[in-house]
Every structure is written in C-alpha cells, then in structure tokens.
Subunit: 195 residues, 3 copies
C-alpha cells in the first residue's frame, strides 16, 4: 500500500475525530445540532391568598416589608421574592392538556432594575416517550424575547445530558398566571450500557 | 503491508475511540462504568424549637401560615418549606461515626401531591482519601425506593467531575431526623496536569 | 510502507487523542490549561434597613428569631440567612468602575461552625468582549484564602462551557459591603456552528 493512501486513511480518522472531539484546540468542541430536542409549556399559577386549590406555586421567601400573598413592589421587579413551584408541563400551550411532565423547584426574582428571575428546578418525565429528569439552572431575563438557561444534568433517559433551554413568555395573566414556552436542545447525550 | 492488515489497525484505532468518545452519532457517548464511586450517609437533624444544640438544619423559608419550627401541613407534603443544612456525612449509617465530610446547602419541599424536595448543595471532603467538593442539584422524589440526582461539578480531587447520586431513605425518625444513603457514581472524571 | 512507519503513524494519532480525550482510562480527561479565563470583581452591598438606594442584595429568608435587616448571630456564622442579589461585576477592584457584567442569584449562609455560603447564580455579560451568561453553583468556605466553585453551564459566547471559579475575599466593610475577586477558568469550551 502506498504511503499516499495511508495518509488519506489517517486523515479520515482525524476528520472523524473533529466532530465533538479534539481539534486544533483540544478543549474546544464544535457541534452542529442537538442530539435531542423537545418543546414543553410551563404553567405557573401563583398563590394569591384566594386560590388555594388551583395554585401550583407559592411565595416562600421575601424581602423586608413584603408578604406571602402578593409580589413585592420593589422597583416593580419584585426583587427578593422567592417562589417554590410544582408546575405542570404540557406539549401544547393549553393548561388543560394532559401533562407531559412536571417542573419542580424554585425561582427567585433577582433583578433590581430590570425584571429577571433565577431558576433552579428539575423537569420530571414519566411517559412512554421519556422517563427521567433534567435539571436546569440559570437566569431568566423576563422581558427579553428569548433567553437561554443551562441544562446542567439529567437522569434516566437523560442520563448525564447537558444542553440549553430557551424560554419565551407565551402568556401572562395579571400576577397569578404565566406560561413559558421552553425549547430544550440537548447537545451532550450519554448512554449507560449494560445497566 | 497488506491493505487488510491496515484495515485491522484502523479498526483498532476506531474501536479505541468508541469508548467515551465519538461514535456513529458524534454527540452520543457510551459508558459502561463509573470512573469513581463511593457511598456516604447523610444525616439531617432539623431544628424544632427545642434542639438548638443538636440541630444541623433549619427552616429558613415557608409559605403563608407556616412557621420556622415545624414543617407546614399543606397536603402533608410540606410544600414550600425551605431548609438550610450543614449535615455530617459518614461512611456507615451511624450518626456517631467520624464524619467523612460535610454536606452544605438547602432543600426545598416542592411537591404538591406527592412528597418531593429539590436539593442544591455541595459535599466537602477533607480526608486522606479525598480532598475537594462535589456539587449536586436535582429532585428527590422522597417515597421512591431510589431516586437519582445530578452531580453537576466538582473541585479538588473531583475537578470538573460529573455523575449521578442515587438517594435512598435509610431512616426517618419523626419529623426531626432522617438519614439518606447516597451512592455516588462519577462518569466524567478530569485531571488537571502540572497544576 | 514498512510496518515500523505505520506504528509511528498510529502512535501519532493516539498521542493526538490523549489531550482531552480517551486515554488508558477512557473516562479520564487530562487538561493542561483553560480554554478561556478571566478575572472579575463582585461587589455586594447588603440591605440593612437604611441603604435602600444603594443596596444590591437583600435578606429574603432567615431562621427562627432573625430578621430581614441584619444577619443572624447563630454561631456568628449567620447560619440560615438567605440573600438575593443583583450585584455589579467589574474588571478591577473599584466599585465605581463601569460594570463588566452583573451577577444575579442568591447565597445562603450554611455553615454552623465555620462561615460558609452556598451560591447559586449567573453572571451576565453584554460587552464587546463577551455576550452571554455563566451559571455557577457551589460552596464558598469564606475564611479560606481561596475556594473553588463550579461553573456548571453557560450560554451565548459561553455556550455549554464548564469550569472553575476561584473566589478570594478582596474586601469586607462591616456587615454591609464585601468584595470578592473571582478568577474564572473554563476548561470545557464549546462552539455551536451554523447557528
């Protein structure tokens, strides 16, 4: 076999490595598309003192002078309100659709001059399509058209996965209900063999 | 050298890559086993108004109508109670054993219909075996026999590590003490050279 | 081509893989240096009841017997105080310098015997240098000269990045102001192509 052919073969091996692995900078990974993606709608009905049966979230921390039944008015950004939630996730934007999963965790209003909330929560899926959880953390800059939050880990069908969740506000009704459209793109997928 | 031998050699190189690196789908990683694993026991003694000296955790946030010395009764899932903790970790299930490390952070009861808590915390180790921290985040579905939480990062001996922590309830004594068995399996291990 | 030459070529391919990819243990990655690094200063002015205009952080959760305008004295470690913040980040240690970005999220005092705080927050950058966010989580052992916190994800220019943030205390003025120097070293960098 000629050296020339060999160089071509070696090049093929190296180009194979280039996708998602070591390249010129051994620590920079290039990706072109997600390995998994999905869209879910997140419905939050906040407790306001009068909706005990329907509420899916509640104020559990707040700054001085605030209370547990209405968001604080500091700068109108509600800075310092901490909300625990157990919210349904649906595949379309209808609150009454059968839930595709649940989102459980908290968000904290943490913008002083522009509305923002920091979210730490998990999505839990138990359907024919997916069984497992995704854990998300990051800043939701509420008035931006879209904003990206990190998917920092997963379990079950999402074992060790990582990616990006893009939030967009789909509806806001007074201070009690809001709905987010969440596009999840996972760029790092793992599979545990012989488990 | 015959082309046939060369193909075998190239195949060896490719199969070498297949473990934990690019395969047919360049973004899907297959793993067969953890790179590190360990078991620790997590002991939580919650402040109830009368155990100031022994308590390792305290209620620091709660929904309307609740207090700081007993868990709220909403749906009996304590939805909305936020607990800060600085809990000992031991290698066996004995609270009196010398601590192998500490777990510091919070958990938030965030299940409305079934008991669940969202945990954000770090384990800190400073022994001959391990020096460093692991940071965990995820949902603890309390009544499930086992439940997986994500290990989202680490420092020191656990530099950049990721993995899965499997919780199982080892003991519950009234509302003041519970013990978790935590099996940690790290699937992504890193080493910083010439540091 | 002689088998000997071929072995050398194969060795080159394998050594190429060794950096940041599979080696003897296919799950252990060796790295020698960050793919990106930077230093920022984090300025926190805590609300004390009299600094409403200047305060960048506020107590939003606390243990029994504590209040929202001063840190609790439990063991002098303030165990159980939860603080929401929207803090400026600067490139030098001057609070009056133009902000390089913002840090938004929370920290929770969670050390019973020695001062420590658990941080969950995002840094948001919108400059000519960087646009995007980094999300951090981990334990800040306050009295240690330096302490490492995990960078668990990123968006925008920091798409999918991971790394380590090293905190050191740069200044403390009574209980209202502190300043951290934060050295960020990212060891896992990603780039999304044709986006």
């Amino acid at each position: 076999m000629a050296p020339f052919s060999l160089i071509i073969l070696i090049s093929i091996v190296l180009s194979f490595l280039d996708d998602g692995s070591a390249s010129q900078n051994p620590y920079l990974r290039h990706v072109h598309r997600p390995c998994k993606s999905m869209v879910v709608y997140f419905h939050d009905i906040r407790y306001n003192g009068n909706n005990d049966q329907n509420a899916t979230s509640r104020i559990v921390g707040e700054p001085e002078g605030a209370n547990k039944t209405s968001l604080v008015g500091v700068g109108l950004t509600h800075f310092g309100d901490l909300i625990a939630f157990d919210d349904p996730l649906t595949e379309d934007n209808n609150l009454r659709s059968p839930p595709a999963g649940r989102a459980q965790g908290f968000y904290l209003y943490d913008g002083r001059n522009q509305p923002a909330s920091w979210h730490g929560f998990s999505m839990i899926f138990n359907s024919t399509k997916y069984k497992g959880t995704l854990t998300l953390a990051g800043l939701n800059v509420i008035l931006a058209k879209t904003r990206d939050i990190s998917v920092v880990g997963g379990t079950g069908d999402f074992f060790m996965h990582r990616g990006i969740a893009t939030f967009s506000t789909d509806a806001v009704e007074d201070e009690t209900y809001f709905r987010l459209r969440i596009q999840i793109k996972l760029y790092e997928c793992w599979k545990l063999m012989n488990h």
